[in-house]
């Protein structure tokens, strides 16, 4: 009897162990995200080996703004998710990337201190994934003096007018121009533009210039964040543009919904043509505002539609987020972080010899014809006095809780001389022509 009990107990323990082993085998057999051989139909994280990198870490760093009403940390967090994926796929020739991300609160002293901490104390070889209302202006001279070129996502003028940044996004000024361009084409009679007051002059200036050139009366409404009187401001804008006019909102998903809810409450969704810059071009916004807003939006999207079926990079971004950053919803800010991470990794992998700040930033400058389905045209950096590589966008709208393409890839109007000059350089140096 005792022997039988021992047998049963032994069998149970054995079965449990076997089950555990099987489970372990099953988990181990699961292919890691981003592994395999890169091809036109498949994107991988870095080398795609599926093996963990274990060498001496290569340090990269970033600075993202976080203030009430605006959260740009999604960009750095997604870049980190991509680097984590690279580290699980062989890293940079066996060396993992250690990404250090700092937050700042729209404070120039803090921005300057953090840039110096990254480069001088943390000894990062490159700065990646930065986004802020003011950091470009604060640090561009410092980055230039250290020979750093930041691959990030820009907001203010200095991000697109100094040699220190090569942003993956078009930024609010060019995105607003794209949206205004679409609204004017759709036949608006007047245009009202609202942006956060800290960036309004730069962000809205191009769209206003475009409207004036097209003979469309235009008015800018700078908005203090966090917004406490969305309804008042919205009524003010509506009173200016009237029925059939255009209202262009340039806010992140933290703030834009207040205006959109106010428009619903005031019953003016259908009376106006609504433009927006990129940040609200995602399914978590369309999920909240469709079907009421379906057909009424002209959102300039600096990237492809946020949809895994668009292409291999879009599919990989969804997979990377799911595995390494499950709390981040797929959206434009995630696309920015993904692209910043991908291009920085490509620069690192192109280095022959030791990875230093000098070799990494030289590799960044050499980046060109970086094809991805997330951008209309290939990304590049080049040795230029400023970089505006993302200057061709799409227009999207909401439909049945989804985001749909309204107008395909269109070059944004060259209201600024810098955009016209950029297109000359692109051809002259074959930066994005694929040659």
């Amino acid at each position: 009897m005792r022997a039988t009990k021992t047998m049963i107990g032994g069998a149970a323990v054995g079965a449990c162990l076997l089950a555990l082993m099987l489970a372990g085998w099953a988990t181990g057999a699961q292919a890691p995200v981003g592994s395999g051989k890169a091809s036109a139909k498949k994107s991988v994280c870095g080398l795609g080996t599926g093996k963990k990198a274990t060498g001496t870490p290569i340090k990269l760093g970033g600075i993202d703004m976080l203030i009430p009403g605006v959260d740009f940390t999604t960009i750095g967090k997604t870049a980190k998710a991509y680097f984590d994926c690279v580290n699980d796929n062989g890293g940079i020739n066996g060396r993992p990337i250690k990404y250090i991300l700092y937050n700042e609160q729209l404070n120039p002293a803090q921005e300057a201190a953090l840039a110096r901490k990254l480069i001088q104390t943390d000894k990062v070889v490159g700065v990646v994934g930065n986004t802020s209302f003011a950091e470009c202006g604060t640090n561009w001279k410092y980055y230039k003096s250290k020979g750093f070129v930041v691959i990030g996502a820009g907001v203010q003028a200095e991000c697109y007018s100094t040699p220190s940044f090569a942003e993956v996004n078009a930024g609010p000024r060019y995105s607003n121009i794209g949206a205004a361009q679409a609204l004017i084409k759709a036949g608006i009679k007047k245009l009202a533009i609202a942006s956060p007051d800290t960036i309004s002059a730069y962000a809205d200036g191009g769209a206003a210039l475009l409207a004036k050139k097209a003979g469309v009366p235009v008015k800018i409404f700078p908005t203090h964040l966090p917004v406490t009187d969305a309804t008042s401001q919205l009524i003010q804008m509506y009173q200016f543009v009237g029925d059939g006019g255009g209202i262009l909102l340039d806010f992140t998903p933290d703030t834009a919904p207040a205006f959109m809810k106010a428009a619903e409450a005031q019953g003016i969704v259908e009376k106006v043509k609504w433009g927006s810059s990129t940040p609200i071009a995602n399914t978590f916004m369309s999920g909240q505002f469709s079907p009421k807003w379906d057909g009424h939006l002209w959102i300039d999207n600096e990237f492809s539609n946020v949809d895994p079926s668009v292409g291999p990079d879009s599919a990989l971004m969804f997979a990377v987020l799911k595995r390494y950053a499950p709390t981040i919803a797929p959206q434009a800010f995630a696309q920015m972080g993904y692209l910043a991470g991908k291009f920085a990794t490509n620069a690192l992998l192109s280095i022959k010899g030791p990875v230093t700040a000098k070799s990494y930033n030289a590799a960044v400058i050499n980046l060109k014809n970086q094809k991805t389905d997330i951008l209309c045209k290939p990304y590049y950096v080049g040795k230029l006095p400023y970089h505006i590589p993302n200057n061709t966008n799409i227009i999207v709208d909401y439909k049945n809780k989804d985001v749909v393409v309204k107008n395909g890839c269109t070059a944004i109007a060259a209201v600024d001389k810098s955009v016209a000059q950029t297109r000359i350089w692109e051809k002259k140096f074959n930066l994005n022509t694929g040659k």
Binding site: T74, Q236, D254, T255, A265
Partner: protein, 309 residues
């Protein structure tokens, strides 16, 4: 009538101005509601509660969580929002009230600033701003809209204005007629003598903390609907407008606080269409509070002494 419709107020058409008046009165009602709560608490305990906005925001966030992440019915979540204001305020009053009782009013006030910062930190920790979804706490009343004098007015806006008058009237009657109210007024005059006369000071103060907290919770429930978003930072700092209303009432008069709150709300909103002052409308609470304090103290005798004279 036609003349009235064509009326222009300092260059802005009356028709254009009407919606701003409605919005301003609704916000003013909520400022007044909070302001009255502040005054009642100050009169009973000598504490100027700077955490009013944060407490209301915390209540609103709790209600948001209950509605969106549990099967709690909306009405219960709204009730919890109001009750949370009362409970948090009461808890602070009971724990820190006695310790601060003999301290300077400034010290008492700074204590509540600490509470505001702690609540703000907790909200940022548990419900960080940004991320995927903007938060809304719409009230069913916002679905009902009426056309009044050619302007669309929501039931929430009407409730905000009516509630402000109702609470002010109720608080005035309560303080004047009831035994508890009389005790609160006595406390405001002299805490020591009131205690000597056998008034249960702690219990009276507790009632003041809880009652004013309920007003704060009600404001926290109405504001996200009027703001069209649940932004706890914005809600926290809206205490400034309520504070201005209370200062206009010199922290004494409930009715002056009510009209002060309405004036602040109106000034902020009506300034919107005037391009030259629109950018400065957030300064309206300070400007009105300073103007009111200067006006109300114009006949006061100022005594100046020189040390060693």
């Amino acid at each position: 009538m036609t003349d009235l419709l064509a009326l222009s107020v300092f260059g802005v058409d009356w028709q254009f101005l009407k919606p701003f008046i409605v919005i301003g009165l609704a916000f003013g009602g909520v400022y007044a509601l909070s302001g009255v709560g502040l005054v009642v608490l100050y009169r009973a305990t000598g504490v100027l509660n700077l955490a009013f906005g944060a407490i209301g925001a915390a209540g609103a966030l709790i209600a948001y969580y209950l509605i969106n992440h549990t099967s709690c019915p909306e009405w219960l979540a709204f009730a919890v929002c109001v009750a949370a204001g009362g409970v948090v305020n009461l808890a602070y009053g009971m724990v820190f009230g006695p310790a601060f009782a003999r301290r300077d009013p400034l010290v008492k006030m700074m204590g509540t600033l600490g509470l505001a910062l702690i609540l703000l930190g907790l909200m940022a920790w548990r419900a960080p701003a940004g991320g995927a979804f903007a938060r809304f706490l719409p009230l069913p009343s916002s679905e009902h809209r009426y056309d009044i004098l050619g302007t669309s007015v929501s039931l929430t806006q009407i409730i905000a204005i009516v509630l402000a008058f109702a609470i002010t009237a109720a608080a005035s009657i309560f303080l004047r007629v009831t035994k508890l109210g009389t005790a609160m007024r006595a406390l405001a005059n002299d805490r020591e003598i009131t205690a000597t006369l056998g008034v249960p000071v702690r219990r009276v103060e507790a009632a003041a903390w809880f009652g004013s907290g309920l007003a704060c919770g009600a404001a926290g429930l109405l504001l996200p609907d009027l703001l069209t978003s649940l932004d706890y930072t914005a809600l926290t700092f809206l205490v400034i407008a309520s504070l201005a209303a209370a200062l206009i009432g010199r922290l004494q008069s409930l009715w002056a606080t009510l009209f002060g709150g309405l004036a602040v709300g109106l000034a902020q909103s009506v300034a919107t269409p005037y391009a030259s002052i629109s950018a400065y409308r957030s300064a309206a609470p300070f400007v009105l509070a300073i103007a009111a304090l200067l006006f109300l103290s114009r006949h006061r005798v100022v005594t100046v002494s020189r040390a060693g004279a």
